[in-house]
Point group: C2
Chain length 483, copies 2
Amino acid sequence: MHLVVICRIIGMLLMIFSVTMALPAALAALYDDGAMRAFGMAFVLTFGAGLVLRVISGNRQQDLGIRDGFLVVALFWSVLSLFGALPFYLADHPGLSLSEAVFESFSGLTTTGATVIVGLDELPISILFYRQFLQWLGGIGIIVIAVAILPILGIGGMQLYRAETPGPVKDTKLTPRITGTAKVLFYMYMALTITCTAAYWLAGMTFFDAICHAFSTVAIGGFSTHDASMGYFNSPLILMICTAFMLFAGMSFAVHFAVWHERRPLSYLKDSESKFYLGVIGFSVLLVSLFLIFTGTQSANNGLINGIFHTVSIATTAGFGADNFAAWPSFLPVYLVMLSFIGGCAGSTGGGMKAVRTMLVVKQGVREMKQLIHPNAVIPLKVGRHRVEARVVSAVWSFVAMYLISFVVITLVMMACGLDSLSAFTATAASINNMGPGLGEVAANYQSVSDVGKWVLCFAMLLGRLEIFTLLVLFTPAFWRRG
Amino acid sequence: MHLVVICRIIGMLLMIFSVTMALPAALAALYDDGAMRAFGMAFVLTFGAGLVLRVISGNRQQDLGIRDGFLVVALFWSVLSLFGALPFYLADHPGLSLSEAVFESFSGLTTTGATVIVGLDELPISILFYRQFLQWLGGIGIIVIAVAILPILGIGGMQLYRAETPGPVKDTKLTPRITGTAKVLFYMYMALTITCTAAYWLAGMTFFDAICHAFSTVAIGGFSTHDASMGYFNSPLILMICTAFMLFAGMSFAVHFAVWHERRPLSYLKDSESKFYLGVIGFSVLLVSLFLIFTGTQSANNGLINGIFHTVSIATTAGFGADNFAAWPSFLPVYLVMLSFIGGCAGSTGGGMKAVRTMLVVKQGVREMKQLIHPNAVIPLKVGRHRVEARVVSAVWSFVAMYLISFVVITLVMMACGLDSLSAFTATAASINNMGPGLGEVAANYQSVSDVGKWVLCFAMLLGRLEIFTLLVLFTPAFWRRG
Ligand SMILES: [K+]
Ligand SMILES: [K+]
């Protein structure tokens, strides 16, 4: 372990992160919305803490190893989320308690989008902007980590992508080479954000709402500046724009890069994960829309629009709302929450277990049945034209198992915190899948959850965002042993 | 496929099975309880159908292959369960509809123990006996199939036991050699039933109740002759006797055989699966009892007895009741239902995914974390002192995945059948795990479930009892293809 270097990295990250508070501070000053002091103090505290860490950790250069990688990634989200809670805690409005402030910050930076605030429409403009910006930042953070760093750490079978990532990341040391990949991804993310802002703006949002919702759309975050979320705008056009950008942001940025680099849009159809992801969502859109229409719950027009929008919103783990889907009949609400376990593609801003892992699990199940019928045949497991290594398959299985075990344990803990079974189940699913809204008591917001429950859900969000293992390995004795 | 031979086997099985109706017919005649005509007709129909199948299939001898094995096992339970429904359907009392009769029969023969009958205490004695006898028969059926046949078919990693099964079953053809193993298992099962009957009788049950409850205890079935189940006897001694026999019947009969053969009771502690099974149940007993006592829900004495009895009853998937555990506070009811997913040991009468599979999944998860920290190390997966083959691990993973996917799909279907989320979730869990009682609407019985819902749950019981794959492979085109 190279704790000194890790300390320096976290220090630098905090100093950079403090800019996210300087920006709203300026906004608060400009509009005189009363939150300037809070952002100012938060900026000083965050920048100061970063500076202290940077100074005490000196300038010794060292190459980082695998373990340092785990620690940096885990600290990145937890330390930044804790400091990110400062403005929420310090501002007079919305006046959050410490647990609430931390919850809102974790929910933002992990792109979960679960909120404890009611009355968004009356909030200071700087606070609103800050919430959306946290999600945007969390989005680019996870893309860079998922595309450039996780494949190197080999988490949950993501070494699958080691050879396919854009840019020069085939090295196994966490050296500055990552910077090259990060830059490309950042430019793509920026371009997507600008396009999305323009589309929203042209469709009738104010410029402020357009940029704020573009932030949370490309991040698959789900935060909104209105309590009614996307329903506020009452515009099918805006819902369809949002749908398109969620679908796009839920696909791998490594694939986007390849398509853009080779100028071949049809390459999407060659990527197994993209096909699986679009297939599952396409099937679900049909199922949900037809069920809404044929049960007479909604008119053909509304059923189609709401079916498309909500299915994509939940399946990609964005979590934007328009209609009150928690009140939809029969199996629909639970079905949508179940979809969020599949989630987006690996290397996207989406949460969940990722489409590629679900696909591998299903393929392996089908393969096993063939094996049972032909016990002596050798049947390889393939993704596209490539045979998947046994080690990758085993890593994927372990990931899925640990994900589900974590989910069950946290659900039980949430019930011990006083939630009923449906609320506990969906609150945990919405958190670990970084999706946002649940059903029952947590359908609209998470205000009623106890303080302990809020911290547990923060842990669940972090667990999901860090692909389980990055966080869990830190709790094993073997991780801290020398050598 | 050797359909003619399969036809003959099913014919013979039906003729043997018809004896289970002749016995209650005699009982009905003896006590003149009004159900004699129903059992007589059911006997004639079942025996007749068996005879017809036997006669038309001739005497040609053929060795059966792997595929025939799947078909025989699947037909064994489904055909017998359908014919087994006849007495319930034909009897005036309890007067069940066709769907209800089929549900009760499937629930009996798969040792699930979910019931649609209220007013057990007033039922004809022959019907009561028949229900319990169905479970007993299902119990010995699954032991023989799990110990002697599934390892040959290699379902869900059970080839793990190919070398360890008692008797001469190392052949890969489903030849009459299985008979040898079956005989030994049957004697052990008989001995256990007799001991259990004696224990219940000495503890104060009537002889009829003692034998009936011994049937459903050693089968981990959970049917009772009283609406209040084990609570009827109001005797801590009986609850503890029941606990001991459930624990014992939930362990592998292959291990029991080995221990008995070598006269070394300590061998139980050498078996990894037994240790894991007892460890999980021990931990859960402590958790549940202490929670009941320290929250003031129950007195120390009651909390301990109820905690022990219900934890073992649900964790082994027996499903007997005493206290109303569905009304216990906080996470306890859902926790207990979750335990039933682990279930008994492989080669026992218990349901669920089986302890050995859960153990392998957890071990693999831990192994994966070590692998992440030491990417270049070769870390084998071991059970006891044996290294587990990659093929077995992959079969176990596929099993768990298919099990959970089936569970989720059936839960959604049950919600579409009108159940609320908790009832749908637990009804499906209780059925696929062959456990019995659920929570919510299905905590006491399954009367309120719609007809379609009842058939779906029958399918779930069969799916669980046949270790998923035995049934699922029959739905693949590859199974029916020649060659
Ligand atoms: K989200
Ligand atoms: K049972």
